[in-house]
Amino acid sequence: MRYLLMICVDETVDNRPSDATAMSDDYAAFMAEMGPRGVLQGGERLHPTSDATCVRVRDGEVLTTDGPFAETKEQLGGYFLVDCADLDEAIEVASKIPGAKGGTIEVRPIWEMEM
């Protein structure tokens, strides 16, 4: 059985520098334990919600807004990990996800880490 483990943290408490590319010691320890067990299938750190963009399609029109997904009645229902040239391409791909009609796709850049 595969599971998605969602890491929800208070961004205001996380005070690592925004240009950090190294993993913190506690995450490195977690990886060192779980890597050999073979349970990890993927995982990334995300840039904070201030770098997020929401994409919605309403009446065939793509609506793009700054900031994270904040609607409480809609919940995370799935995800795609994509590799795009830039945000414009990511928005275009997001707008073609069926869930963008009626729902919201939050586009969050991956924080590239040196492994």
């Binding site: 840039h47 770098d51 900031g67 040239a85 945000l87 414009d88 850049p109």
Partner: protein, 416 residues
């Protein structure tokens, strides 16, 4: 010395955005670009009074800014391959034969890349406005903060976040490709128009500063029109701003109250600006692709070219509002159309439209709807109904200047 300062001010106006835009493209570093542009102007302020103004001030400033960027990148690079690539890019951009040409062989002005990036829909609207002002017009963070009545620290934070998002989320530094351009252009024009209107929503204390925002908006609109001469709405926006700004001296009285169009002293309108606005509008209309800015400019032109209020071509304005309602349908546009129809065909014709709008209920709570009804009823001598409508408008807590007008009219219709 005064001459040097004037040349420097003019160079700042013309060159700041160009220098910053090119340095952002070549270095990819927004802060570095701004700092190096800043350094170049500081250096000019130091050198020009001593050495004299260079023959080509723009080229001098560009070279100094680029040299500064190369120096700083070299110092930071310390052998890193990525840093060296950036140094090479900046150095290449100093050569007359800049390799960054578009595929079709043309050269894109970097300011156009910059404005489309600053106005990217993934940035919040107030951020787009602030970032455009900072990078394209060179207003300082403190000046922008004052203009928008927020603390400087708040504005600085907003700008830092915006630049961080552009980098982290990889917002591309480019003019959108053809299939996105139609979708993105209105967003850019909106930012400029918002800026212009911000310049006019002056509270008395901040007034002087804010009129400057209107000037900055015109400067930006002029740049956009210059860079996109084939985009009729870019020309339409410039025409609209010129035609509205031409009336600036006449729109407020000595006590700071707004003066309605019909009562403005038309001798105080800026004729040269009206002529320019009309000719820009004509150029836009020749492209035969009308849009909301062109239609609004045409309405402004009808007002600006009428020798007296009585000469206003109201039938034409009513038709134009009808077109505007097709391009950007809104109940406020409908209300303006009703007012124009009332002027063209008489108050009874206008009242029919206003009552229809009232019944649709979309403008509930908007004081200008009962205010317009009241004026039409007053002109039809239905004074009791007019008085009720004035009271209804006053009950909606209108802004002070509007409330004073409404109370004066109410006194007229209820007076002895």
């Amino acid at each position: 010395m005064d001459d040097v300062e004037a040349v420097l001010a003019a160079a700042f106006h013309d060159e700041w955005g160009r220098i910053v835009a090119t340095l952002i493209r070549t270095t990819g570093d927004w802060d570095l670009a701004e700092e190096c542009a800043q350094d170049a102007f500081a250096r000019a302020l130091e050198r020009w009074p001593v050495d004299g103004v260079p023959r080509n001030p723009g080229a001098w400033l560009t070279t100094v800014a680029r040299n500064r960027a190369v120096d700083r990148l070299r110092r930071e690079a310390v052998g890193a391959a990525k840093g060296r690539a950036a140094v090479d890019a900046v150095e290449a951009s100093m050569l007359p034969d800049d390799p960054d040409h578009d595929r079709d062989g043309g050269v894109t002005d970097d300011r156009l890349r910059l404005v489309f990036t600053c106005c990217h829909p993934a940035l919040a609207l107030d951020t787009r406005v602030a970032l455009t002002l900072r990078t394209l017009t060179g207003l300082t963070t403190a000046e922008i903060a004052r203009a928008f009545l927020v603390p400087e620290a708040t504005m600085a934070q907003r700008l830092v976040r915006a630049k961080r998002k552009i980098r982290n989320a990889a917002i591309p530094y480019r003019v959108p490709p053809a299939h996105l351009l139609a979708e993105r252009l209105p967003g850019v024009l909106t930012v400029v128009y918002l800026l212009f209107n911000e310049g006019y929503s002056a509270s008395s204390g901040a007034e002087l500063l804010r009129v400057d925002l209107a000037e900055q908006a015109i400067h930006l609109a002029r740049t956009l029109a210059e860079l996109m001469p084939d985009e009729p709405e870019a020309l339409g926006l410039l025409a609209l701003l010129l035609l509205q700004h031409a009336r600036r001296e006449a729109r407020v009285d000595a006590t700071g109250d707004l003066v309605t169009l019909e009562h403005q002293d038309r001798a105080r309108w800026d004729r040269a600006q009206i002529d320019e606005g009309v000719s820009v509008l004509e150029a836009a209309l020749r492209l035969r692709h009308p849009g909301p800015y062109q239609v609004q400019a045409a309405i402004a032109a009808c007002h600006d070219t009428a020798p007296t209020a009585d000469d206003t071509d109201w039938p034409q304005i009513a038709v134009l509002y009808g077109q505007l309602a097709v391009h950007s349908p809104s109940p406020v546009v409908e209300l303006n159309r009703a007012a124009a129809v009332a002027m063209a065909d008489g108050p009874a014709a206008g009242l029919v439209l206003v009552d229809a709008l009232d019944e649709r209920g979309e403008l509930r709570g908007y004081h200008l709807l009962p205010a317009a009804r009241a004026d039409l009823l007053r002109r039809l001598d239905r004074t009791a109904e007019a008085a009720d409508a004035y009271r209804a408008a006053l009950a909606l807590d209108p802004p002070d200047a509007d409330a004073r007008y409404l109370r004066r009219r109410l006194a007229e219709v209820t007076g002895p």
